[in-house]
Amino acid sequence: MSERVTHEELMRYLDGEVGPEERTRIESSVEDSTELRRELAVYKAMKDDLQTLKLSDGGHHGSVWNSVNRHLTRPMGWTLLIIGSLVWAAYGIFVFLTSQAFFLEKMATSAIVIGVLLLFASVIWERYREWLTDPYRDIQR
C-alpha cells in the first residue's frame, strides 16, 4: 500500500466518493504503485461481481400495508373496548347495588357473576401456565 493513499481513501475512490482533486492524487499514486494497482483491481473485481447480484422478493408477495394497518389500529380498538366495558360495568354495579331488589336476589345474582368471572380467570390462568411450559411456543407457523 502506498504511503500516500490510505485504505479508506482507496475505498472512497472505488465507490466514487472523492472530489476531483483527491481523485487526481489517488490516480497518480495508483499509477506509481504496482501493489496499489493490484489491490484496487481486486476490490474493483469483487465490487463488479457483487453488483451483478440482485435480491429478489419472489415477485408475488402482497403489500405489508394491511398487516401494518392492523397493528396500528388494533391497540386503539382494544383500548376503547376495555374503557367502554369498564364504564358500563361500573355503572351496572352501581345500579345493581342501589336498586330496590331483595337482598336474596342480589346475593344470587352476585354469586352467578362472581362464579362466571372465577371460571373465566381459572381458564386464562391455566392457558398461561400451559404456554409457559410449551416447548413449541417459539416455533412459528
Binding site: 479508506e8 469483487m46 453488483q51 451483478t52 447480484l53 401494518v68 397493528h71
Partner: protein
C-alpha cells in the same frame, strides 16, 4: 415521492391519522424488503421484520426530525429490527433459502451458456463468502453494493460517523476477499 410530500404525510400521521401512513409504507416496502432479505436471508423473516419496523417507525414518528429524509431513518429502524431478530431465536441467516430467491441480472446472450454457468458459480461463491464474513461485514456490503446507498446514507442507517463508513467497508471487503480465497476463488 418528494421530501415535501413525505413531510406533509408525516405531519398528518403525527396528528393521529394512520391512513396517511399508507403511501409511505408503499413507497419504502420494496427497498425495505430487499434490505431485510439481504440481512435475514429468507422471505418470511424479512416480511416480519419489515412489518414490525413500519409499526415501530409509526410509533416513533413524534420523535422524527422533519428536516431529515424519512428513508435512511426508516432503514435504520429496519436494520435494528433485523439485528434484533437475528439475535433472538426467531430468525437466523439462512443462505439456502436466500439462494433460491436470488436472481442474476440478465446475462449477455452472445456470451452463451458457458458464461451463464460461470456467473452462477460466482454467485454461489459470493453468497457462501458473504455468509462466512458475519453480520456486521455483510450488512455494510449489502447496503453499498446491492442497495447502492451513498456513504452519507449508510452512516445514517448504521448510526455511525460518515468517516467510519470507508473504514468499515475496507474491513468488510478484506474479509470477503479472504473468505473467497479460502473457498478457492481467485481474484486478479
Amino acid at each position: 415521492m418528494g421530501p415535501e410530500v413525505e413531510r406533509e404525510l408525516i405531519r398528518k400521521c403525527r396528528a393521529g391519522d394512520s391512513r396517511f401512513y399508507e403511501p409511505l409504507v408503499r413507497a419504502y416496502e420494496q427497498p425495505g424488503l430487499r434490505l431485510a432479505l439481504g440481512m435475514l436471508g429468507n422471505l418470511e423473516d424479512a416480511k416480519d421484520a419489515l412489518q414490525n419496523a413500519f409499526v415501530k417507525a409509526f410509533e416513533a414518528l413524534a420523535r422524527f426530525d422533519l428536516k431529515r429524509p424519512f428513508g435512511p431513518w426508516f432503514f435504520q429502524i429496519l436494520r435494528n429490527q433485523c439485528r434484533d431478530q437475528l439475535r433472538s431465536r426467531k430468525a437466523r441467516f439462512r443462505l439456502e433459502a436466500l439462494d433460491e430467491r436470488l436472481e442474476l441480472r440478465p446475462a449477455d446472450p452472445e456470451k452463451g451458456p458457458e458464461r451463464k454457468r460461470e456467473r452462477a458459480q460466482a454467485r454461489e461463491l459470493l453468497w457462501g463468502a458473504l455468509e462466512k464474513i458475519g453480520e456486521e461485514h455483510r450488512e455494510i456490503l449489502i447496503l453499498k453494493e446491492l442497495q447502492g446507498f451513498r456513504y452519507g446514507e449508510i452512516a445514517t442507517i448504521l448510526d455511525i460517523p460518515e468517516g467510519t463508513v470507508a473504514s468499515r467497508l475496507f474491513h468488510a471487503r478484506r474479509a470477503l476477499k479472504e473468505a473467497l480465497q479460502d473457498m478457492g476463488a481467485e481474484y486478479p
